[in-house]
Amino acid sequence: MIHAVLIFNTSGVPRLTKFYTPLRAESQPLLQKIFQLVSTRPASLCNFLDAPELQNLLGSKIGDEVRVVYRNYATLYFVFVVDGAESELGILDLIQVFVECLDRSFENVCELDLVFHFDDVHHILAQVIQGGLVLETNVDVIAQAVDEASLARKTSFLSANPLALGTGSGPRSSTLQTPLNWLTGKLGGIGAR
């Protein structure tokens, strides 16, 4: 089971925190510990690490094996905390799927997209993972679902605001600062960090 999906920037500021099991205490010590674990690892090391020390901080549902799977893209760390029932190699691929979905939805996604559109990021994540279990891994299907939801939102907004000129909130198309320059098509496979 996936217990947490976290995105940090390289300064340790959380950009997305999603816990699928209730925590024993406040999330801050856990977030700091996880960032410390991940950020201190040189880029040459593998993307997996056992972290039994997180057991006391995570919820009671966590099993014996607590594993952290992460990937570093530009200024962001994508971190998944899973238990022994989950395939860590599958999770590494799932991170890539999630990132590709973000990239496709936001068009050259950057860190600021995650800041200003975190509700959209949560929505995209909900297309991939539900209740700590993987729902869908096909990028095309996920992107289609996100587009449909976006369209539904716009329709819904227009029906609720018939005189509105805009189309409500939604992913912006302009390129903001700090683009992650994700060449997602070239980052497939295990080798990408």
């Binding site: 500021v13 959380p14 950009r15 925190t17 999603k18 024993r24 205490a25 406040e26 801050q28 010590p29 700091q32 040189p42 090391l45 593998c46 993307n47 997996f48 690490l49 039994p52 006391n56 901080l57 395939s87 860590e88 190699l89 599958g90 691929d93 600021l112 800041v115 200003f116 559109h117 975190f118 509700d119 949560h122 929505h123 909900a126 539900q130 209740g131 993987v134 729902l135 869908e136 891994t137 096909n138 299907v141 449909e148 939801a149 539904a152 939102r153 819904s156 907004f157 609720a160 409500g168 909130s169 992913p171 912006r172 302009s174 903001l176 600062q177 497939g188 496979g189 295990i190 080798g191």
Partner: protein, 963 residues
């Protein structure tokens, strides 16, 4: 952040402004202040007037941003005020975007057991009844995220209906919802109608639905065994098509992974005995590796490992009836190329595959030694599947720069051939023993040795034997540090390995580990060989070399001696943390032995030892179980010691040794406590001598107010510290973090890592004046790896740290915590502060300073006093409260602002303006004061009232507000 608002995509200008302020904040502290202020602003906004759903949406987005970005100052508890609005948004949101934010807030910011969650049931039901996919999807996702039992009767029929919805997403979510609800109401999976709704979805054309159904079927098969067969048949059918290459493009990799996972879990005996599953898994592995799809490869290997090993061995055996040409390649052959890679991820993939494969399939017969020995024919084992180069390559992974890979390698090699690891361990040990390099220079090698020891221990099944063997290995490594010094490297690695090691810590393990260390290696004792232990797993405790007759008196069982310093610190750390697993007789022995050993060590070593003893006697039933010799030894050591702290610990021991009940009340008998936590527990005791002496500098007394008494305390902290009895139960989610931290620290049964960290952080001040010692080193090691660094930092900069005390907010908070911890029952705490207040209100001494430091306490007094002067006025300001405060700041006089939520005049913002008297005037001059009350009005305006002790000041401030 140079992005303009127009292209930022922010939901509102307020959102954009907040993000900008936070992102550009000079320090984390500033950012936290902005976030906290924003929450306060939102709190006021929510309290004032009803908001439209679009405004609620925007506000909730800002609040979730605050919660996500904050480093602790904004918690879910502090956002409780917005829960009713969020629930309202879920119910009344006119667009799905609004509803989505409402649901998001409820999922992220509302605690699972919050009573308000019941208010969601009606909205969820309505959304499920709607025909809109987006709304149904939101409602189902909400239940999946936080399932609760009360919702089940209201929605179960709707969810079952949703399993046949036309939208694949709704179908998949409905099935997942049923699985999620089963976690709070297991009866759901016993209902036949649920099984009947899910089973047809196994064959759904949409993979998303079929995968959800597969997951649900695994849970359902426990109550409906008949469901297992169709599930397995379906999975085998899909895998057959895929592995034959007929349907590569029909199925996604994720679906086939799920098929393999389901088969690995639910494969029945009949299917297992067939070689078809093995062949399908091998073909799938080959395809997966060819496509660099290592996740699917891993699931294939997992499925191969579920096939009975006899069948696999027979399949790959060279003399099998099946012609070799028709056989599929050995799984190792498909992944060998990963060994040559330079990427550590590839190494990890190879090793994770190897760790799952049964040893008999690849490691060769037991006699095979690293690929170099002569292999004998063994029908139960396949020949070694790796070449000599490949084995050597794997051995090099034991020295990988990645700890994860090192540990995985050791686990695999230990399972395959423990002799290999054992020889490597022995070789390195002897190499280190003869090395002249400094321990610091070769610190990492100790870590490798202990990792090897840990891996070898894991291979020993008998827990008692494992404990003894582990103790032997730790002794050996610690002995590498010669002389009376503490090797930081060994200590760090030892404690970390004991904590993070894979070996389970059980009662027999702890007991035997402890006794083995106490007895030590004596002449003629054969060193336990791991290979011997592995060969003779059934060896009983009686036959072990460390066995000691339980009837032998403790004094003769364990001779007092000077154990290696590093080993002693490892010992007391381990014993203290696992004391609850020790048998009572063992506890007595350890107490006696440690007391008898005290005399051999300096005070820096004695401190952790005596703390360990104090922790252990808290687990004894009766004072009589503490021997007289123990008491005498400690008394003597305390008398002879020059260390003030050690003397106090000895006094603590002596005072509690006659009254164990008092100690038990202080130290939770059932909790796992580290040495720093024991110190914290002892210091929280109001009657404890340690607290009285070490905290003396921090406790305010009525006769001599300490310097810290002038440190401004927040009014809430002051009020809390004065509370001696709870008048009524606080709301469940108390927004005051101070209260939480106190209760966490004082309630040992609710002990958590977070609380222990909190407590340890509090200890730093106590240790500021200390020189770092070996004892500190042990405490730090026992506490946390990070703490060691922080202690070193403290030791390096004690004066700097002391100078900062009271200078910033964290320090103040720390002081507040300390006041709470040490003087809950102290009658002295509030008196100095009260005196300062009364002094200021009478205008005595430095009363002006008191206005600034304790404004909230004085506001009502000042307000009343200014009434007599007759200088009062009021008016409307066509600007919000924030703007009014900015205008008052513009006056150029020092101001103090009191929150709307604080007394007096709750609901109004209070501002005190104080103009210092001219320096030329005599010291008795009284400051000119203006008190302003601001109440938020409609449409961004506010009403202000002002009173002042000075007319000129009144006019000045009025001008600022009327401009």
């Amino acid at each position: 952040m140079n992005t303009p608002y127009s292209s930022s995509g922010a939901s509102s200008r307020a959102h954009y402004a907040l993000v900008r302020r936070v992102e550009e904040a000079r320090s984390q502290k500033d950012a936290e202040t902005y976030l906290r202020d924003e929450v306060q602003l939102m709190r006021r906004r929510f309290a004032l007037s009803p908001m439209s759903t679009s405004d609620i949406r925007v506000s909730l987005i800002v609040l979730i941003y605050c919660l996500t970005t904050s480093h602790g100052s904004v918690t879910r508890t502090s956002l409780e005020f917005a829960i009713p609005s969020a629930i309202h948004l879920v119910e009344a949101g006119s667009t799905s975007a609004e509803k989505r934010v409402g649901y998001l807030f409820c999922n992220e910011a509302v605690p699972k057991d919050h009573g308000m969650r019941l208010m969601l049931i009606n909205s969820i039901r309505k959304d499920l009844e709607s025909r809109r996919v987006a709304r149904m999807s939101l409602a189902l996702s909400c239940i999946i995220a936080v399932p609760f039992a009360e919702v089940v009767p209201a929605v179960i029929d709707l969810i079952l209906k949703a399993t046949s919805n036309s939208s694949p997403r709704i179908k998949a979510l409905a099935i997942k919802t049923l699985t999620a609800l089963a976690s709070v109401d297991p009866d759901i999976l016993t209902q036949e109608r649920v099984a009947k709704a899910i089973e047809p979805r196994l064959h759904d054309g949409e993979e998303m639905v079929a995968k959800a159904a597969l997951e649900a079927c695994i849970g359902l098969s426990n109550t409906f065994p008949a469901l297992n067969r169709p599930t397995v048949d379906h999975c085998i059918g899909v895998l057959r098509q895929f592995s034959r290459g007929k349907a590569y493009s029909n199925y996604s990799s994720g679906y086939i992974q799920k098929i393999c996972q389901t088969l690995s879990v639910s494969l029945d005996e009949q299917s297992k005995s067939s070689t078809e599953v093995l062949e399908m898994a091998l073909r799938t592995l080959k395809t997966a590796i060819k496509r660099n799809n290592y996740a699917l490869g891993l699931e294939s290997i997992r499925l191969i490992s579920k096939v009975p090993t006899d069948i696999s061995v027979a399949y790959f055996a060279p003399h099998d009836e099946v012609p070799t040409s028709k056989k599929l390649p050995h799984p190792i052959d498909s992944i060998k190329h990963l060994l040559g890679s330079q990427s550590l991820n590839d190494h990890y993939v190879f090793l994770s595959y190897l760790s799952i494969l049964p040893v008999r399939l690849w490691a060769g017969p037991p006699e095979a030694d690293g690929g170099s020995g002569v292999q004998q024919t063994d029908p139960t084992h396949l020949p070694l599947a790796l070449s000599q180069w490949e084995v050597e390559r794997i051995i090099t992974f034991m020295d990988s720069s990645d700890e994860q890979i090192r540990r995985l390698t050791l686990t695999i090699l230990t399972h395959g051939s423990s002799t290999l690891v054992e020889k490597s361990y022995e070789g390195r040990l002897s190499q280190l023993s003869s090395s002249s390099s400094s321990p610091r220079a070769i610190g990492a090698v100790y870590g490798r040795l202990l990792e090897m020891a840990d891996a070898l221990c894991c291979a020993v099944e008998d827990e008692a034997a494992r404990g003894r063997w582990s103790a032997t290995k730790y002794s050996e490594v610690c002995e590498l540090c010669k002389g009376e010094t503490v090797s930081h490297e060994i200590l760090e690695h030892a404690v970390r390995t004991l904590r993070k090691g894979k070996q389970p810590i059980s009662q027999p393990f702890v007991s035997n580990w402890t006794l083995a260390i106490m007895q030590g290696k004596t002449e003629g004792d054969p060193l336990v060989s791991p290979s011997n232990l592995l060969e003779d797993q059934s060896s009983s405790v009686d036959s072990a070399p460390f066995f000691i007759d339980p009837n032998t008196p403790a004094s003769s069982k364990f001779q007092a001696r000077a154990l290696n310093w590093t080993l002693m610190l490892v010992f007391v750390t381990f014993v203290c943390e696992h004391a609850i697993l020790l048998h009572r007789d063992d506890l007595k022995d350890v107490v006696t032995w440690l007391a008898s050993c005290l005399e051999f060590y300096p005070p820096t070593m004695q401190e952790p030892m005596i703390l360990c003893v104090i922790r252990l006697i808290a687990l004894l039933d009766d004072s009589t179980e503490i021997g007289e010799s123990t008491t005498e030894a400690i008394k003597t050591c305390g008398t002879n010691s020059s260390s003030r702290l050690f003397k106090k610990y000895c006094d603590t021991f002596l005072s509690y040794s006659n009254d164990l009940d008092r100690l038990k009340a202080l130290i939770d008998s059932d909790a796992t406590l580290s040495i720093p936590e024991v110190v914290t527990k002892l210091e929280t005791s109001p009657s404890n001598t340690i607290a009285q002496t070490t905290k003396a500098a921090h406790i305010p007394t009525p006769s001599k107010p300490p310097a810290s008494s002038t440190t401004p305390l927040t009014p809430s902290a002051l009020a809390q510290s004065q509370l001696r009895y709870a008048a009524y139960d606080h709301p469940k989610g108390n927004a005051n973090p101070r209260v939480n931290s106190f209760s966490t620290l004082s309630t040992s049964s609710r002990r958590s890592e977070a609380s222990s960290r909190h407590a340890r952080a509090g200890d730093e001040h106590v240790d500021l004046t200390k020189t770092i010692t070996a004892g500190d080193l042990a405490l730090a090691e026992a506490s946390d790896d990070d703490l060691l660094t922080s202690m070193s930092r403290i030791a390096a900069k004690p004066k700097l740290a002391k100078g900062k005390r009271g200078g910033n907010d964290p320090e103040k908070e720390e002081l507040v915590k300390k006041v709470d911890l040490i003087s809950l029952d102290s009658p002295f705490l509030s008196e100095p502060i009260q005196r300062a207040v009364s002094s200021s209100s009478r205008g005595e001494g430095s009363g002006a300073t008191s206005y600034a430091s304790l404004p909230e306490t004085n506001f009502d007094v000042i307000w009343a006093e200014c009434e007599a002067s007759g200088n009062s006025t009021r008016g409307w300001l066509d600007a919000p409260l924030d703007n009014a405060v900015l205008r008052l700041q513009g006056v150029g006089i020092h101001i103090d602002v009191i929150s709307i939520d604080d007394a007096p005049f709750q609901g109004e913002l209070k501002v005190l303006l104080k103009a210092d008297p001219p320096e030329s005037e005599d010291s008795d001059s009284i400051a000119k004061v203006a008190a302003v009350r601001l109440r938020d009005g409609e449409e961004g305006s506010c009403l202000w009232q002002m009173r002042s002790s000075d007319h000129a000041l009144l006019v000045l401030v009025k001008q600022a507000l009327c401009e």
